[in-house]
Symmetry: none
Subunit: 185 residues, 4 copies
């Protein structure tokens, strides 16, 4: 990663914000450019296309979650319950603070139909999320049940995030997370 990484990264961050809040199709390359003080054409020096930029955004978030959330599953010296609580804390605080919800979740509904690269990246993200949760739960539940529970947690999380965009309430999300935290208690 070269020195201008800041610039690239800033574009990605700005684009993530816009894609989350206004939607992928509701955000033009002009909007992204304006938001980071460039003009439209200049974006194309950094990203070959809108789709490429979108993909970078997905990867950026994926990487962030891999480093700060999913990695908790493999932290040494922590009990399963401790891992599950920390994991859930991270997820909760991220999405309570994240304006616009979960970009990868959003894009399932907006773009995964026609854009196979997006779909693959999104699948990969959710696969990693599922694998991390499964790894935490497997000791207590066994492989099959752990996997099933992981998937339920992820689905409920995404559903809650979605509903938080409609209503202002956060209670359902927090309750759901509390139930998750107690799964290994």
């Amino acid at each position: 990663m070269p020195i201008i990484k800041t610039s690239r990264e800033q574009i990605i961050k700005d684009a993530i914000y816009l894609f989350k809040v206004r939607g992928y199709f509701g955000t033009s390359m002009s909007d992204v450019a304006q938001s980071c003080g460039l003009i439209k054409g200049s974006l194309y020096h950094h990203f070959g296309s809108k789709e490429a930029l979108g993909l970078e955004c997905l990867k950026y978030i994926h990487e962030y979650f891999a480093l700060t959330v999913f990695s908790i599953a493999h932290l040494p010296n922590l009990s399963g319950s401790e891992k599950l609580i920390r994991f859930t804390d991270e997820v909760e605080s991220y999405f309570l603070e994240s304006e616009g919800g979960c970009l990868l979740g959003n894009l399932i509904l907006q773009a995964s139909g026609d854009m196979p690269e997006f779909k693959a990246e999104i699948e990969s993200y959710f696969n990693d999320w599922e694998a991390a949760l499964t790894a935490i739960l497997i000791a207590s539940f066994g492989k099959a049940q752990a996997t099933q529970t992981a998937r339920e947690i992820i689905a409920s999380t995404q559903g809650c995030i979605m509903m938080m965009r409609l209503y202002e309430r956060t209670a359902t999300f927090k309750n759901m997370n509390n139930k998750v935290r107690q799964l290994l208690a």
Copy 2:
């Protein structure tokens, strides 16, 4: 150039399909027109704008759910458990067969930001859904707990529907529904 009368309802059904599968912004008025054998401009004889058409689609689905699903909450001669099972059966079979998931859920993420009429209709739909579930659950759980559980069920349902668009699997959705069915057993 024959003149074929196209019914309002057929246009709405075609539009619903496209809005669900390709997204609201991914579907042009041309697409809708083509899908019902009209040309672009002719749609405007029936609906004043794309937004008006979209709103009619939301209302159409809302009404369908009100009649066939939410009304179960007030069916006479049924126990709470029976109502909950029938309710869940209806929800499950609808979304297992519905290509493209839940249009109202999808539109939370695509359009509710800038389009207040959409948001209001979507809120109204989810309020009705919540009220119906709460009515079924209230005798056993009390008002507060029934409401909270209803919201959890709805969020989980939406999350599962979302994940079904990414993966082909239906198991998580079915499991989740089974748990719901047993809530009053």
Copy 3:
């Protein structure tokens, strides 16, 4: 002119109003239809096209002026000065009350370029206006001077009407008319 003349005439009157106030191109056949309680397609039973309707409007106004204004030039038992005063009175009161100014004048600027039938009708109207004024003035001024003065009066009248659409003031128009009234005094 058949019995349904009222209906035809009402359409023409409504269309005149709209063409004057909103302009010919700013008025759609829909607007005209709505304004007279018909639906768009029904207008075409009365007038074959928008251009035909426009032309009828021009002719209607032309006829009205011929009957009530230009005819003053040939009234018996009136002196030239009396004719000029009555003529000017009629012109003044018509345009002070006529919302939207002079349709025929307006259409010089809006449509005479591409629409030769309009142009011909407009020319005919102004020719008649000029002939009437010339007839009144000729005894005192001679043919050449009368014609020239008539043209000046018409041009000034149209200019004043135009400026009355921009400003609310009527004084310039009234002053100009007063000067005309005194030409034969």
Copy 4:
């Protein structure tokens, strides 16, 4: 597909010509684009909307008149009569050469109703015209009479320009200008 730089000013000049000759509503953005060798969408790089382009055209003409015509009122070392003659010469030669008449006058009738920005610019232009003429006349006529005469001159000028679009004759306009020239003789 070569990329030719088109200057803003050239677009404005081309648009002015078309707006004058075919009318504002009779001229499409496509027409303007074609006339300056661009394609439709490219115009929007220079002007945000047709209305914005129209407004720039009005301002361009206003500025031209301010510099070359209205400024004559404040030229040093000229008598009032000399100023009035030069002023009238400029007006006359401009409108004798200007195909399509006076864009600002035309737009009073075409667009000032719904487009307040146009109306404001047009008013400002005619206010400046009136102020310039008044400044020339005030020494001989006094404020009130000078203003009134200025308004009469402007109205007559606009009326003559209008009638020149209908008939080919220029005599009425020239006669009228000669009378103006002699006002201070």
